[in-house]
């Protein structure tokens, strides 16, 4: 019950009027960035990160993580009322959410989805509370080879879990690693890939890449599609809420199953999107009204929403315990921790106990605050979405530019943002994944250091990654995942041959 005591102490850290105010501000901003096109959890936190530099780390992470919770909640609003998924893991929410809203059940649909989001996240937080200390304690024994193998596993999972072409996943990922190399090499002190430029000496801040790729790139794509919001009006009536909640009690099995699927897949990066689709697919098989899926079935809304929020929250588990983020947004939070001088990883649980448990406690409170905020402010956010895009877009672009500038008070970064924005537009249109690029930028140096140290330990033999059972297993699974697309391709070829 050591966890319970630590958690109670954590609540003590969080429960100050200032922190609770930050929590609500964070949730509100989070829903806003979740609802607006061109913004989103990762980008929203990247833009707002610099303004938290003056806060103490606990308050700052409370506000930033609440922006994340808010954005997870907010994604459902656009999916249900406007049939526009804010991000890829909200796509499955539109399948039954929008038909429900069109049938005049917008209140029920929103209540269901917010409740599902809350339960999914809550399940994942429970998991973090009890599993994180165990994983951290276990990972204390990890050396560089184990860390490198886990990072390899993280990146390999993009190859087998993503929908994109494996060559494109590799290209995006390697670009991220290459960008991470730019600047001074910490081991030898040599300048790498700077080509004599002073500006490149600093290297590329991944926050700039996030703002450019997710912010500017997204807006360029949205403009091209000629974004016009035609939404369903919505208001949440307290009577509808009570009625919906009573009805939802009967669907506990679906909630539980979807939470488990979400949490399990969410630990791996790129997990949220497959989790929401998988959860939807399985619910369709199990549900009594499976044949009504796609026309506004409540189970079809519960499943993806529970799963994607569970996944989004579970993404913080590897971030906190191993220093390996499970999603781009978790990567941005990790970047924040590094800026405040906190090194995420197993030692965080030993050296910064107060901070870690404060953060975990704030997850509980933040999600309750999130539920309250979204339930009461839906009409407001729906009204914001009706403001024409030609007014919203320049304001979002302004926010992105200010965010890019404030990362290091550098104009050069604003230009990089533009370049990453154009790159984001091209990559998005050609169906390249952006998440591995961002994650590689964040983890590039850590991965390289772990690799170099492992090589030093073994005097240059790759056998180091199979030197004991643990690292060998992780490395083997990683390689299997990495070459999975190749196996399936070869299998497809032989099958084709047989039939031809």
């Amino acid at each position: 019950m050591e966890e319970m005591n630590s958690l109670i102490q954590g609540f003590g850290v969080v429960l100050t009027p200032y922190n609770i105010m930050l929590m609500f501000v964070g949730i509100f901003l989070g829903v806003l960035v979740g609802v607006l096109p061109g913004l989103g959890g990762a980008n929203g936190i990247a833009i707002l990160l610099p303004i938290t530099f003056t806060m103490n780390p606990s308050s700052a992470i409370i506000m930033l993580s609440c922006i994340y919770w808010g954005s997870l909640f907010g994604g459902a609003i656009t999916s249900i009322l406007f049939n526009i998924p804010g991000c890829s893991w909200s796509v499955a929410t539109t399948f039954d959410g929008y038909p429900m809203a069109k049938k005049g059940q917008a209140g029920e649909a929103l209540t269901t989805s917010f409740t599902a989001s809350f339960i999914g996240a809550f399940f994942a937080i429970l998991l973090i509370t009890f599993l994180a200390p165990l994983i951290a304690r276990f990972a204390l024994r990890f050396g560089p080879p184990e860390f490198f193998a886990i990072m390899l596993l993280t990146f390999a999972s993009f190859m087998s879990m993503g929908k994109e072409a494996p060559t494109k996943v590799l290209m995006a990922m390697m670009l991220g690693f290459a960008l991470a190399c730019v600047g001074i090499d910490v081991v030898t002190g040599q300048l790498r890939m700077t080509f004599g430029s002073m500006e490149l000496l600093r290297g590329f801040a991944f926050l700039i890449a996030v703002i450019g790729l997710f912010g500017i790139g997204e807006i360029l794509v949205s403009m091209e599609e000629g974004l016009r919001f035609r939404g369903v009006a919505a208001k949440i009536d307290p009577r509808v809420v009570v009625k919906t909640w009573r009805m939802l009690l009967g669907h506990w099995g679906n909630f539980l199953r979807s939470s488990i699927i979400g949490s399990a897949l969410g630990i791996a990066p790129a997990g949220a999107t497959p989790a929401s689709f998988m959860s939807y697919g399985i619910a369709k098989k199990f549900s009594k009204e499976g044949d009504k899926f796609g026309t506004g079935a409540i189970d079809g809304l519960i499943a993806p929403e529970t799963a994607n929020n569970a996944a989004g929250t579970a993404a913080l588990l590897p971030m906190l315990t191993l220093g390996i983020p499970g999603s781009p947004t978790a990567a941005v939070l990790l970047g924040g921790l590094l800026i405040w001088g906190l090194q995420p990883g197993p030692l965080l649980f030993v050296e910064q106990k107060e901070f870690v448990w404060g953060l975990i406690a704030s997850m509980y409170l933040g999600n309750i605050a999130g539920l309250i905020v979204v339930m009461t402010t839906v009409p407001l956010f729906a009204a914001i979405l009706r403001v024409p895009f030609s007014i919203i877009a320049p304001i979002i672009i302004t926010a992105c530019s200010i965010g890019a500038f404030t990362v290091a008070s550098s104009m050069g970064d604003v230009w990089y943002m533009l370049v990453f924005g154009i790159l984001g537009y091209l990559l998005k249109k050609l169906k390249y994944p952006v998440a591995p690029l961002v994650l590689a930028m964040v983890l590039g140096n850590a991965a390289e250091n772990a690799f170099r140290q492992s090589m030093l330990m073994s005097q240059g033999s790759l056998g180091m990654f199979w030197s004991n059972g643990l690292v060998g297993t992780i490395a083997t699974v990683a390689l299997l995942l990495l070459f999975w697309p190749l196996f399936t391709w070869l299998y497809g070829m032989t099958k084709q041959r047989k039939f031809a």
């Binding site: 081991v187 360029l220 599609e225 007014i391 170099r452």
Partner: protein, 177 residues
């Protein structure tokens, strides 16, 4: 984008600026060149083993190698792959689609120049005004409140509340801010 085939079909009559295949090849070639650049610098740094362990170019060398191989196979697949024959012929962007994209991109480039020379606040007001005019055809009555409120709000939030200084230019100097 597969979820919106209808909008794509409607644009078929619209003239394509460039085909998806051409862009696929161009972007793959771009990745290949970046990979080559990284490899060139890694070779300069040394990519083998020294007395202090792997040299500085060791890791980036293999990164660039994987990148170049992946980019080349992607290039060949988009150029000659049977599977990409249909999708490659689709327009990457049509004239009708490119116009609004450029209507964001050009003002944005001027905006960043503006931040550098006029300061952030003045250029933000100008950027919002120009953007709303070009993309929404709004009149002065609707433009003025937005274009003035946003920079003022940003000023109060950053300079006063969060104490984060943003770039200022000659006009702020005149006002003594």
């Amino acid at each position: 984008m597969d979820s919106e085939p209808s909008s794509r079909d409607a644009d078929e009559a619209d003239e394509a600026v460039v085909s998806t295949r051409t862009m696929e090849i161009a972007v793959s070639a771009g990745f290949f060149l970046v990979g080559a650049l990284v490899m060139w610098d890694s070779v300069r740094l040394g990519f083998s083993w020294s007395e202090i362990g792997p040299e500085a170019g060791y890791f980036p060398f293999y990164i660039s190698l994987i990148m170049m191989v992946a980019a080349m196979s992607n290039l060949l697949m988009s150029a000659f792959g049977r599977k990409n024959k249909l999708s490659g012929a689709r327009p990457f962007v049509t004239r009708k689609q490119l116009k609004p994209v450029l209507a964001v991109l050009f003002p944005l480039i001027f905006y960043i120049f503006g931040i550098q020379y006029l300061g952030l606040y003045v250029s933000t007001a100008l950027f919002i005004a120009i953007f709303m005019r070009i993309n929404g055809q709004y009149g002065l009555k609707k433009i003025a409140p937005v274009a003035i409120t946003v920079p003022v709000a940003v000023y109060l939030m950053f300079e006063k509340w969060f104490l984060v200084p943003l770039p200022k230019g000659p006009i702020e100097a005149l006002l003594g801010l």
